[in-house]
Symmetry: C2
Subunit: 563 residues, 2 copies
């Protein structure tokens, strides 16, 4: 696969778009626009690992398609502060040649914290942009517009290019009664639609949901209903970036005369940032610390905490297992999981809820109560945006493959010419101009794994080995031989990990050892000096033995020392 | 923990119930009733492994609490033929002393196939029972009653004991228009309620669902609507045990003039059994084989297949990856996943759907169309059963802990005295009599893992090792020393699996090796002869090195040979 070439042949009025993440997957959002040699990057997000990525901490997009073009990057613009839109920046900022970064105040506030952790804050140029404000980045005039989402200060982008106007919605919903009174800027989108829009790139996350997504305010009403009925301690777990949600919880708590305890590292960090920037209003008098707990009756306390996804090391998971030093639950207490069951976490969340019930708490959660609403537009909202924007071309973004297909189908029903609604995948460049669309040769793209401090040093091969070890365990055979005579100086000894309960001294392992001895007696002299072949033979023997006896395929590691 | 003792002290009119599986979990259903020294077993199911049970094929209940009491088991009665109710029998039948087994015709038909596979068919005594028929098993008079469920020939149990009448619902729903015209036998339950019921044990699976579960017939209507609109090949994936579902698919296919291909091992087996027993009606003329495919236009074929859970080795998964020899999809084809997204499988199913879209197919599934309904009763149905049966005592069964708690709450709202609705967990015996309830000392219970041919030879320790290996990989250090002088005869050599992309010859691994050499130089003489201590020291060195450099914790296996 190749990289994004300098394209002198590119017509000055043609625009190239190149998705490097977020198309065909949830997370990793990164879109590249190119016009007249200038590059504009939109978002740079991470993804949390899927089950098969064993031991991986984070996933970031592969940006090697941009190698050699760093100097052409005029800027990185951010739609909002969620991890799947800004989380990869600390890992890729230097690789991308440290471009200036543009975003709204909270988005940059959250990013600044991350850059500081990675000791990059000093090198990064962060420029705050307000909604309806424009910045000129090379040939791109980028105007931010307000987008309501499950994080404060979200934005969409109106990008004027020599080829025409591009609208990128970011993540959004059409909340008519947002908590901060700032709905998605439909008037601005309508105006653009009247002026003519070349290309719409729009959020596909909730394309499978019919109707409208409920307003965030509905959740506030649910809290106002539930809280007065609670007799004991109340804990609310939610995403630490959902500042509006936190505000509504705090308001409901204060209305009931409960003091608020903020718990969990990212919850403390994010509420601090949001309070400093004026996005979150918590009266100092309402805030308490862990040490204050013993002096206040349980029914006058509300704990806002992280851990809504059942993360095993989170405070909430430990509380559920009755394994937390300061916090505990007792019959009569209430826990509210004000959050989505993120795909892949269902089992962990379900286990968490069961354990909370074991502690005697009553639990409210998405599937049984209206304590969470989505931040993404449903079908009717998407239709409205399509009908206002009336784009000539449409490329769905932010979604798994089926979401993209369904969003393209919706666009066609809304009037986009069938061949003008195109499903792209990551690494697939598309040339866009008034004259039409052209798919170009696919470029390098993919996922880079972060494990501990290592970025990219665990690959597909290591994951395959991890999967083998995970599913079957391993068996080691240790043996030392005289390299001249073939005399066995040590072993064979068999050790296993994750294989069977029996240890090496047991009857079954002795049979396995005996099988190896037989193989050695048969082959070791003939293979004298060809240790690799002997190793293969020993492995084959054990593989057959374990397959025949217990139908299992452990990873077999023969260690043969030649002395 | 102890086993179920012979209890001469047990009052002749007292009943003991002992759940050994299915309470606090989905699957593994096994309930024991004891009265006057006689034991009755209800169901004996398996569970598919959870994510943390790496490499495990199946899970079965631990029945060691019954050790020594095999001769007292008067029978094993089965409510229906699902794996989570009969699947553990082949593994436990001999352990349980080969008791006679009672069930309806299809239930025993499905069981017989399993016993044959395990070469147990000759030893098992299987007795077919029809609804409203009773069998006397020791002191227990067990009457089967019809229960509608997502498998044909389901039953509930009315068990008359010296202590009083016990009703065990099995899995059920109150389908008023079942496909076979045989609804759950509410009149019989009502009659029992009038006569007086001591204890109700009822299905809690869908306690979180409000209202009523839709009739199976709704799915048939969905097929009748979707199929006439399909232009290409149609594939329907469903559970091979859901014979009514299969019947409805076949009917809709025949109505549209499509021939039917049955695909997938268990689909072929189960439809064979069901046709032979008269539960499934497929005209021979409508059935085709794989080899007939090339002679029939695609729009005249419907494939019924397994693989609805995204199982990676299933035919459907291979078709979705375009990796199946005889079957393929092309634009215009349709796939219907007529099945539940079983918790834990969501991601695999979601991946499957995305790949089906990549093939160009249109896909219908639970979250977007009415192509599946549940087989379990929702809240209003459960309320109806409670109000008809009017039990004195209630113990919720079949559900995770939160389901059991919520079902007990519902029972109390329906009139059971608060202290008479009891949430039990596996291994917790409960004495029940007209005079009250008494919790007894907890007995041995739990889960036994089946991996390949091995039953119980993978334990918690092995799973912990597998998890460690899965998340961090492993590093081996190989070294041979003269046991008298401490001279290093070989190594140290470092090998790794699932750790980093770099091999042992790389710079990073050389640094690791150097760290080991330093440790050896420092300690090996002092620790001469105490190889275990040296091993600990080497492991510590590498653990520190990897933690400091890349913040990772591989499993470190020092192999030190003393020669």
């Amino acid at each position: 696969m190749s990289t994004l070439a300098h394209s002198p042949e590119l017509h000055p009025d043609a625009l190239r778009i190149l998705p490097l993440g977020g198309l065909g997957e949830i997370g990793l959002n990164l879109m590249v626009l190119e016009c007249r040699g200038d590059l504009l990057l939109i978002d740079c997000g991470l993804m949390f690992p899927e089950a098969y990525m064993m031991g991986i901490d984070l996933v970031i997009p592969d940006v090697s398609a941009l190698a050699g073009r760093e100097a052409d990057i005029r800027g990185l613009v951010l739609t909002h502060g969620h991890e799947d839109h800004i989380g990869a920046i600390p890992f890729l900022y230097e690789t991308l040649g440290c471009p200036p970064i543009y975003g709204t105040a909270l988005t940059l506030g959250l990013l600044r914290g991350k850059l500081e952790e990675h000791k990059l804050a000093g090198r990064a140029r962060l420029e705050t942009v307000s909604p309806r404000q424009s910045v000129q980045l090379g040939v791109f005039a980028v105007e931010f517009y307000r987008a309501a989402h499950s994080i404060v200060d979200g934005a969409g982008l109106i990008i004027r290019t020599p080829a025409g106007t591009v609208i990128h919605t970011g993540d959004f919903k059409l909340d008519q009664t947002p908590v901060d009174g700032e709905p998605t800027d439909l008037p601005r989108l309508a105006q653009c639609g009247e002026e003519g829009v070349l290309l719409l790139l729009a959020d596909s996350t909730n394309i499978e949901k019919e109707g409208y997504t409920l307003s965030e305010r509905v959740v506030g009403e649910a809290f106002q209903q539930i809280l007065p009925q609670c007799s004991g301690l109340v804990m609310v777990a939610t995403f630490s970036s959902n500042i509006h949600r936190i505000q509504q919880v705090v308001d409901a708590a204060v209305d009931c005369g409960r003091s608020v305890l903020i718990n969990g590292r990212s919850m403390v960090t994010n509420t601090d940032i949001a309070r400093k920037l004026g996005y979150l209003n918590i009266p100092d008098s309402a805030l308490i610390e862990l040490r204050d707990l013993r002096d206040i009756p349980r029914d006058q306390v509300l704990v806002i905490t992280t851990g809504s996804q059942g993360e095993p090391l989170s405070a909430l998971a430990r509380i559920a297992m009755d394994d937390h030093k300061q916090l505990y639950l007792e019959p009569g207490d209430t826990v509210i999981l004000s959050s989505k069951f993120i795909p892949g976490n269902e089992k962990a969340i379900s286990d968490l809820i069961n354990h909370l019930y074991r502690r005697g708490a009553e639990v409210f959660y998405e599937t049984t109560s209206e304590v969470h609403v989505s931040g993404h537009a449903s079908q009717e909202e998407l239709k409205l945006v399509h009908s206002l924007v009336k784009p000539r071309y449409f490329v769905p973004v932010h979604g798994e493959y089926r979401h993209l297909v369904k969003h393209a189908q919706l666009a066609r029903r809304m009037g986009v010419a069938p061949e003008h609604a195109v499903v792209l995948e990551n690494g697939q460049p598309l040339l866009v101009s008034e004259n039409g669309l052209r798919l170009e040769e696919r470029l390098e793209s993919g996922r880079i794994f972060v494990d501990g401090k290592g970025v990219g040093d665990v690959g597909v091969m290591q994951l395959r080995d991890r999967s083998h070890l995970a599913n079957h365990g391993m068996v080691m055979v240790i043996l030392a031989m005289n390299q001249k005579t073939g005399e066995i100086l040590y072993g064979p000894e068999i050790h296993s990990k994750g294989f069977v309960t029996e240890d090496e001294s047991g009857e079954f392992m002795e049979l396995a050892r005996q099988a190896v001895c037989d193989t050695l007696a048969e082959h070791s002299l003939a293979m004298l000096g060809d240790w690799e072949e002997l190793r293969v033979e020993v492995r084959k023997t054990l593989r057959r033995f374990f397959n025949r006896t217990i139908e299992r395929r452990p990873m077999i590691l023969p260690v043969i020392l030649e002395l």
